[in-house]
Amino acid sequence: MEIRALVVDDSGIMRKMVMRTLIETKLAIFNFTEAKDGLDALQKYDPQAIDLIFADWNMPNLCGIDMVKAIRSTEAEGRHVPIVMITTEGTMGKVEEALNDGGVDCYIVKPFTVDIVLQKLEPLLARMAEEQKKPSGFFGKLAAKLN
């Protein structure tokens, strides 16, 4: 599966580490777009060109959770770009805020290992692959369009 991923973090080093770890999982062939904060991410995000988003929480200009809420508020009906939060915010309150109210699909606490990322992402990517097969699903329609 090929995945066009948007990686959002104010640390260039952390963006490199996220991308390297994702490649090492071998879960998909990733094509990356980078953004340095939530505002940069909103400017670079194109629902037609991005399949998956990885975002930090604490960033200048626009934090991750507010970026996620902005994306969700403008999504067309039936569309849902999966968003994974990768952050140092590890308290239960923050995790619940992101997953229950924030529109985040998956949560990874820094620091992470390849095994942790694999464990967290495998179910999400499996769902994406299934969705891609459905002609009526978002990814199915996208695949049909590309073919």
């Binding site: 640390s11 080093i13 390297r20 604490n58 820094k110 620091p111």
Partner: protein
């Protein structure tokens, strides 16, 4: 040497515990806490990262690395070499401070103390000296690590004194 923590720095042992934890998880390093130290913190060419915790505590948590130690620790964290003069070094050290802050926050949360973390600040220079107002509560730990000595500490703001009193 054990020094009794001022009231504003109750729970500051979280900071030492957090550093031990992230050294292992983020840098694959086992470290040894040499205990609390007093006196001025002065270092030749060095990097100092600071991150704040605000809420039921008003803390500035800092991590000091010498010119020799900083690139080695950054390489352990990032998985690739980062020269001392590279802007990426401040980025890597800042991210380590971010992870340290998150770990301190989580440990405080486990003790029922709520706080939010700031974005980290990183300073680099010659003859860095940590100067704080007189009578400001401060605890400083020295750690022995496989890459050299690291200083980790916490300074408490006035709000912490009020909150603890």
């Amino acid at each position: 040497m054990s020094i009794e923590a001022p009231t504003a720095l109750v729970n500051s042992d979280c900071v030492a515990e957090a550093f031990e934890s992230i050294s292992s998880s983020a840098c694959s390093m086992e470290v040894k806490n040499l205990g609390q130290q007093e006196g001025d913190i002065v270092s030749n060419e060095a990097i100092l990262a600071v991150i704040s915790l605000m809420g039921q505590v008003d803390w500035s948590v800092f991590m000091g690395l010498s010119q020799d130690v900083a690139p080695k620790m950054a390489a352990k964290f990032a998985g690739f070499e980062i020269p001392f003069d590279s802007p990426d070094l401040a980025d890597a050290v800042g991210e380590l401070a971010n992870i340290l802050g998150g770990e301190v926050k989580a440990r405080l949360d486990g003790r029922g103390v709520k706080a939010d973390i700031s974005l980290p600040s990183v300073l680099r220079g010659d003859n860095l000296k940590l100067m704080i107002p007189r009578d400001t509560p401060l605890i400083r730990y020295h750690f022995e690590t496989p890459v050299g000595e690291v200083i980790v500490g916490v300074v408490a703001g006035r709000k912490s004194t009020l909150a603890a009193g």
